[in-house]
Structures are given as C-alpha cells and as structure tokens.
C-alpha cells in the first residue's frame, strides 16, 4: 500500500541527491569497485562490494585467467573485453603490468577467465546501484 504521507520539496530534493553526485558516483564506482557506495556513506555495502569484486578479480588472475584486449579480432573476444573493462581500475592496472596472459597448462585457468569477466560485469551492476542511490531511487 502506498505511503499517504506527503513529502516537502526539500525532503524530495534531499532524497533525489545532487545532480553532480549522480555523475560522480557511477564513475567512481566503475573505477574503484565499491567506492561509489562509500562516497555516499553506504559503508557496509561499499566494503562488501569492494572486497567481493576485488577478491574475485585477483583470484581470476591467480588462476591464470586470460585478460581480453579491445582489438581481439573476434566478436567473443570483444564481449570478453566488455566484461573485463567493467572492473575499471583493476583492469587498467592489470593491463599496465602485463598480467593476465593465461596459461592453458592449468585446468582451472578457464575458470579464472570467467572470474575476471564476471567481476567486471558485477561491477557494472554496482555502478548502476550507486547511480540509483545518488538519484534517490534506492535507499
């Protein structure tokens, strides 16, 4: 049942958040997983997201997962790149360090590749969540 209580314009504006935050929060959330929630004072959620996505990405690298490049030449490689790049700063650091070449010698290396992609895709969801908090759509 809908809440019949009226909200003042000031309360509505506060719930909606600032327009600047609606741009900054998803950008920061993409670059540093969990930071989009942290800058909006959602401490527990931010730390859980940061720990989950960072750990997942690092485990993917340790499992010798493959990091996709933007010009892979194959459509599936491009989709893999879209997933990987979702991890933001983690992906940039990985590329700068030259990590993530993958090793076929390990049976679970393919799992590592999937860990890397899914960590990036989950970070996209978290960036969208940070945006929804910034515009006041979610608590």
């Amino acid at each position: 049942m809908a809440n019949p209580a009226k909200t003042t314009p000031r309360e509505a504006q506060k719930a909606a958040g600032s327009p600047r935050m609606s741009v900054i929060a998803p950008a920061v959330a993409w670059f540093i997983p969990g930071a989009g929630h942290l800058i909006q004072k959602r401490w527990v959620r931010g730390i859980l997201i940061m720990a989950s996505i960072t750990t997942m990405f690092v485990l993917g690298l340790l499992m010798q997962g493959r990091v996709y490049h933007p010009n892979g030449g194959d459509i599936l490689d491009m989709l893999g790149f879209v997933g990987d790049v979702g991890a933001g700063g983690l992906y940039i650091v990985t590329r700068m360090q030259g990590w993530g070449h993958g090793a076929i010698a390990h049976a679970t290396a393919d799992y590592g590749t999937k860990f890397l992609i899914v960590a990036g895709l989950l970070n996209f969801i978290c960036a969208a969540d940070a945006y929804h908090i910034a515009i006041g759509k979610k608590p």
Binding site: I49, L59, P139
Partner: protein, 33 residues
C-alpha cells in the same frame, strides 16, 4: 604465484561473491535492508 583450485572450490567462491553483490544490489526498499 599460481592458484589451482578444484572445480568445486572455484564454483563455491564464484557463488559466494556473486551472492554478496546481488544481495546488495537487488534490493529496492528500506524494509529489505
């Protein structure tokens, strides 16, 4: 350093991290907190 997890361990870790993120992001109301 190389990590060689079993298939089961990899699946468990995957599900734990995915569950944490979805548990946080797929809530819409304050009551679901």
């Amino acid at each position: 350093m190389t990590l060689e997890l079993s298939h089961f361990t990899a699946a468990v870790l995957f599900s734990v991290f995915a569950s944490v993120v979805f548990g946080i992001t797929q809530r819409n109301t304050a009551r679901e907190r």
